[in-house]
C-alpha cells in the first residue's frame, strides 16, 4: 500500500509538471513530501513558479493563480486515474481571459477521453462544449431544462442538435 501510494504520487507529480506548464503557459511546479521517511502519513508541500516569477509556496499566489494551480493538480490526477465522467461546477470562476483560453485547450483535449459536465458562466468555456443545456426558472422556484443550439439559442423540438467535430 505504501508502494501503491508512492507509485500514484510519482505519476501525479510528473503529470502536474506538465499540466501546470500547459495552464500557465510556462513556469514550473514541484510537489514534495514533508517527511520522506513516512510517505503514508506525510503532508505534501507544493511550490510553484509562474512564468517570470520566482519559486514560492502556494500561499502567496493570487486567487486566480490558486484556481489555475488547483485545476492543474486535478487534471494531473485525472490523467493518472481517469474517471469515466467528471463534473466540474464553476471551476473557471476566478480565471482571467488568458488563463481561460489555456484551460479550454486542456479541457478539449481531456474531453476526447472522458465525459465532462461543466457548469459555467464563461463564454469561452461555453464555446468549446459539444452540447449546451440551459437551466431556467420560468415559473419562480421551479427549475426546467431547455436544450440550446450551439449558438446559445433555444433548440426547437424537431431540430437536430449540431454536434461539434
Amino acid at each position: 500500500s505504501e508502494n501503491l501510494f508512492l507509485q500514484t504520487y510519482e505519476a501525479i507529480r510528473e503529470r502536474f509538471h506538465e499540466t501546470f506548464r500547459l495552464l500557465f503557459g510556462g513556469g514550473r511546479a514541484e510537489i514534495g513530501l514533508v517527511d520522506r521517511e513516512d510517505p503514508l502519513n506525510s503532508g505534501l508541500e507544493i511550490y510553484v513558479q509562474p512564468p517570470g516569477k520566482k519559486l514560492e509556496n502556494i500561499s502567496l499566489l493570487s486567487g486566480g493563480e490558486r484556481s489555475l494551480c488547483g485545476i492543474a493538480l486535478m487534471f494531473a490526477t485525472f490523467q493518472v486515474k481517469p474517471s469515466p465522467f467528471h463534473i466540474l461546477d464553476e471551476i473557471d470562476a476566478a480565471l482571467d481571459e488568458a488563463s481561460i483560453q489555456r484551460f479550454v485547450n486542456l479541457l478539449v483535449d481531456s474531453g476526447r477521453e472522458s465525459q465532462f459536465l461543466l457548469v459555467t458562466h464563461n463564454k469561452r468555456t461555453i464555446a468549446c462544449a459539444s452540447s449546451l443545456l440551459g437551466v431556467t426558472m420560468q415559473e419562480s422556484g421551479v427549475s426546467s431544462i431547455i436544450t440550446l443550439r450551439l449558438d446559445g439559442q433555444e433548440r426547437k423540438k424537431d431540430e437536430e442538435p449540431i454536434k461539434v467535430g
Binding site: F5, Q7, T8, Y9, I12, V34, S42, G43, L44, E45, I46, I58, S59, R66, S67, C69, G70, I71, L73, M74, T77, V80, K81, P82, S83, P84, F85, H86, I87, D89, E90, L107, G111, Q115, F116, L117, L118, V119, T120, T125, I126, A129, S130, S131, L132, L133, G134, V135, T136, M137, E139, S140, G141, V142, S143, S144, I145, L148, K163, V164
Partner: protein, 165 residues
C-alpha cells in the same frame, strides 16, 4: 460515453419530472444564479449514493425534497434515476446499460433500485468498485471547492492522491 441520461422529479428545485440526455465529450450547463444548475450536480451525487447532507448543501436529507415555492405546495417525495452505459465493459455486469434509482419520502429512509428491482446501497457501490465513481472528492468538483484542492494544510493535500491510489 458513460452517463446517458438522468431523470428527476421532486428533487430540490426540480418539482416537475425532468429528463436530461448526456452526450460524449463536453456538456455545458448554463443559466442565471439560483436557477438549478448545481442542483443537477447534487442529483447525480445523490442518486449514486451520497450520504453526507452537508455535501448536498442541506441540513437534513429530506431537505432535498421539493419544499414548495410561492405558488406551489411542497411535494412528499424526491426521485432520481440515472442511466449509465456500460460500453467499455467498465462495470462488472453483462448488461449494456444499467439504471440506478433513489427515492426518499419525508420522514423516510432512502430506497434504491437497480434496473427496476429494489437493491441496497452496498450492491450499487460494489458495481462501481475501482472505477473512481462514488468517491465524491474525485469525479465531482463542487462549486467553490477548487480552492481546497490546494488546501493550506499539507496533511489535507494528500486526500486527492490517496483517492487516486
Amino acid at each position: 460515453g458513460f452517463l446517458k441520461r438522468i431523470e428527476m422529479v421532486g428533487f430540490k428545485s426540480f418539482a416537475d419530472r425532468t429528463s436530461i440526455e448526456f452526450v460524449d465529450g463536453i456538456t455545458a450547463l448554463l443559466g442565471p444564479n439560483g436557477c438549478g444548475k448545481s442542483n443537477i450536480v447534487d442529483a447525480i451525487k445523490w442518486v449514486l449514493g451520497e450520504q453526507s447532507v452537508r455535501n448536498m448543501r442541506a441540513e437534513r436529507m429530506e431537505d432535498v425534497i421539493f419544499g414548495g415555492s410561492e405558488k406551489r405546495k411542497a411535494l412528499s417525495a424526491a426521485e432520481v434515476t440515472i442511466t449509465i452505459t456500460n460500453d467499455r465493459g467498465l462495470l462488472e455486469v453483462e448488461r449494456p446499460e444499467i439504471a440506478i434509482k433513489r427515492r426518499i419520502f419525508r420522514d423516510g429512509e432512502s430506497e434504491y433500485f437497480l434496473n427496476g428491482s429494489p437493491a441496497r446501497l452496498k450492491e450499487i457501490r460494489e458495481l462501481f468498485h475501482d472505477t473512481g465513481i462514488g468517491k465524491s472528492a474525485y469525479s465531482v468538483m463542487e462549486q467553490g471547492r477548487i480552492d481546497q484542492v490546494l488546501s493550506n494544510k499539507p496533511e489535507e493535500r494528500r486526500c486527492l492522491f490517496e483517492e487516486a491510489a
